[in-house]
Symmetry: C2
């Protein structure tokens, strides 16, 4: 085996280093020369393209259309909604000038001081403000509603501590921005979209998630309600994977967007926004992968099957590749993506390690003895199990296997996640579970931001959400002893 | 007819105003509150999505993969290649700070003076510099070549005079950046991609283009050779629609990107870059549309067929719509996109005008008398011709008609373009053709930048390209009387 290729830190040794190694060595992304900004490499981008396509289809099926709004937001717009600016002001990239000039003192170029903008522009960290300023001109009456628009875009949040995919200064995302006639319709939309995200996570990413409401303290800046999907990584830390916000009339009021209702009276428009980002790449990688490399759910794998010939000499290589091309054509006819690796300047062992690292879901190896017996060796990446299979009909076998792998990855993640949800009633149990086991902790809470912040200070755990399916039950807050209505979901998180 | 909806300025009256009216009224785009930046509205974005998809497929078929590089470029990188910085320095948006703070003097927020970047960041106007700085780490030997990467992204060029789609401060585009072992391979790539663009323009946009080389004066900043496709708009002005650059070793040298060749010796890598942008939307709109609105080639129309019922009363409406749903299902089975407009709060005449304005390629109208006769009225948008067609088998009729419309739009544009290419030999003829007729003018040129600039100053016409198919012929420059090797293509342009 080609150890030199892999050299992955193991998860047990250093989970954080394992993640970073994996992202870089599997060719998914790397840090760039610009602080906090990453380069998404072709293999990583190919996975993102699959996510993009699947999500875009789901958005369109639910009645949404795409549009594009400016990258820049005038500073004055940005500060119209008080909570919003408060939430984002500290991490804004600001454009102040629009021209460079030759350096009068020497080589190179400097910013031209005469080319100062009258009003500074913020590079969008999210687009509510510029979009609601636009919607103002689009909405006069209830007949103009709903507006159901999504945007695929890059955004910038000047993060100080960054990690590839999980937290970067620039990231790619989609942001839905909808406008509605009634509060109920907006709430329904926000709920619909968090469900779309949950279905996407489960059906495409093989990632089980817990849906719920954020506490006031954890809400999006400017929202009246934030819904979230929370996933669990293998190290027992939670990862917020998508959010959907009911914005009430806050942005409509900030940008004076009123409409004439069915009764002829003017009222402010109700709003939602919702987004997922390249952060999902981080979730995908961390949730399923192992010490050999990536484990990708077949529905998101850029290439689902790799075929590797075993041979001696060029003639045998040609024979194996010929056979593989026949098999590949049959797989492609079933909609399966295939690559034949016929490189003859690297050993098979090196290839094996490389495709394990890159997480190709299925590997088919054919050598002369296989060919004589009419069989191939098929390995599944998720369990690393091998099976010898007749070449005749192998396309049906692989097709079933891919579905099985997709399901198995999900079931494994689900089983792990479920094993990592612990109910506790006392603060002592709470800290012990966090320290010794990690994962999600369901605990009573008195409902105050004060207690929530105190718990965070003491334990670094936050309330990930108030699960949609949490039930009212008696109990007292584990820290303050005050009455608690229901358990909420705590975890340490990314 | 619903005149109030259309109110398009006619092309004859004011071509420029007609274009702007059309873009806004057809719901394609509008100006935003940010100087020079546009909002691409859902209908316009849907066309761009179709272009994006078609181009992306063509890039992948020719062996390219997508990736994503940072939005920001450190100022020092940007100035590494001398011609490049010279070409772009005057139109750069510059990020200087990364935080806002509450205004100590009053309301709102101001830029935090303590959050000044050590080095200013340029919002990418194009990505050669950040990408070649990245490629440096990816390329050691000839085995790492070629790199064939494309990026879909937004870029910013601080233009002073902007027009929707044609020239905006921010625009969407794709930029290919490839790295090669030899000069020949890079030249071949640049040539291949300008041909991809020409095929896309012709087959998808129904837009005939002239391919050729740019003069030194019109080259991309940092290129050794720029290939272009030039299209002609209905007002006789040219529009550069896509460019592909052979960058020589300029960026490899600026970023010190060397590779060990097959002979073991170090050499600088050869490069190309190539791009098309949302400017193509402007070309598409201006090339084909008329005084009634958009004319869209069916392959790029977001919806190809609209069906409008004629009826009295709700029962009849339901009956017509029922029939239309049956027809729509048959059309969809052929891969045709269809919309049934069953709104009962607007008159049919209003709907007719609206879909003409929006350029739906085919309109099907069914009323009670049609239904009794088993026929429908089919109108094609390109010629506005109507025909009565049996409903049985209408899907085959429409399918053929869409192909015919696609071809007809192309043939019409081609005929117009060909009628607008004039050969001249004297400067007097040259200015007369430019002023009285417009279009492309093929004229002899002495090959000097000096003469080229002088002609531009005198006539506002530029050399659009030296056509690939131009032949060597005798002649003298029309201005200087110096010897000319071949005719070149002049025009006034967007």
């Amino acid at each position: 085996m080609a150890k030199e290729l892999k050299e992955l830190t193991s998860r047990a040794e250093n989970y954080s280093q394992w993640y970073n190694d994996l992202v870089v060595k599997a060719g998914l992304a790397e840090s760039s020369a610009v602080r906090g900004c990453m380069v998404i490499k072709p293999y990583g981008y190919a996975i993102w393209e699959k996510m993009h396509r699947a999500l875009d289809d789901m958005f369109k099926e639910t009645g949404h259309v795409n549009a594009y709004f400016p990258l820049f937001i005038p500073k004055s717009f940005f500060s119209r909604e008080a909570d919003h600016v408060e939430g984002f002001a500290k991490e804004c990239a600001v454009v102040t000038h629009y021209r460079l000039m030759n350096n009068p003192d020497g080589e190179g170029v400097v910013v031209d001081p005469d080319a100062k903008l009258e009003e500074e522009l913020i590079v969008r960290p999210t687009s509510e403000t510029i979009i609601w300023n636009t919607y103002k001109n689009w909405i006069q009456s209830y007949r103009d509603l709903p507006i159901l628009i999504n945007q695929w875009a890059n955004v910038v949040r000047w993060e100080m501590r960054t990690r590839l995919f999980l937290r970067t200064a620039e990231f790619l995302w989609q942001e839905g921005h909808t406008a509605h006639e009634t509060k109920e319709q907006a709430l329904e939309e926000a709920d619909k979209m968090i469900n779309v995200y949950a279905r996407f996570a489960q059906n495409w990413m093989a990632l089980p998630v817990i849906m719920g409401r954020k506490t006031a303290n954890e809400r999006f800046a400017g929202a009246e309600e934030t819904f979230t999907i929370e996933a669990l990584m293998q190290d027992g830390k939670a990862l917020q994977s998508g959010t959907s916000h009911f914005l009430g009339q806050n942005f409509a009021k900030a940008f004076d967007v009123q409409f004439a209702g069915r009764d002829g009276k003017l009222d402010y428009v109700w709003a939602t926004s919702w987004g997922v980002s390249t952060r999902l790449m981080g979730a995908l990688i961390m949730a399923h992968s192992d010490d050999n490399g990536l484990v990708l759910p077949p529905r998101l794998a850029p290439t689902q099957v790799v075929m590797i010939p075993i041979y001696k000499g060029e003639e045998e290589l040609r024979r194996m590749v010929g056979e593989m091309e026949t098999v590949a054509a049959k797989l492609k006819a079933k909609g399966i993506t295939v690559k034949i690796d016929d490189r003859d300047n690297v050993r098979s062992g090196f290839k094996f390690a490389e495709y394990e690292l890159k997480g190709f879901p299925v590997r088919i190896v054919i050598g002369p003895r296989d060919l004589a017996a009419g069989t191939a060796e098929v390995m599944r990446r998720d369990t690393l199990e091998k099976e010898t299979v007749p070449i005749a009909g192998i396309e049906d076998y692989v097709n079933r296997l891919l579905a099985e792998i997709q399901d198995n990855i999900y079931q494994k993640a689900l089983k792990f996640r479920d094993s990592m949800i612990t109910k506790v009633d006392t603060f002592e149990e709470f800290t012990r579970v966090l320290d010794e086991k990690g994962g999600f902790v369901l605990a009573p809470w008195d409902g105050t931001t004060e207690t929530e912040i105190r718990i965070k200070e003491l334990t670094k755990a936050t309330i990930r959400c108030i699960p949609f399916d949490s039930m009212e039950e008696g109990g007292v807050d584990m820290l303050t002893g005050k009455p608690s209505q229901r358990r909420v979901l705590f975890a340490r998180s990314y």
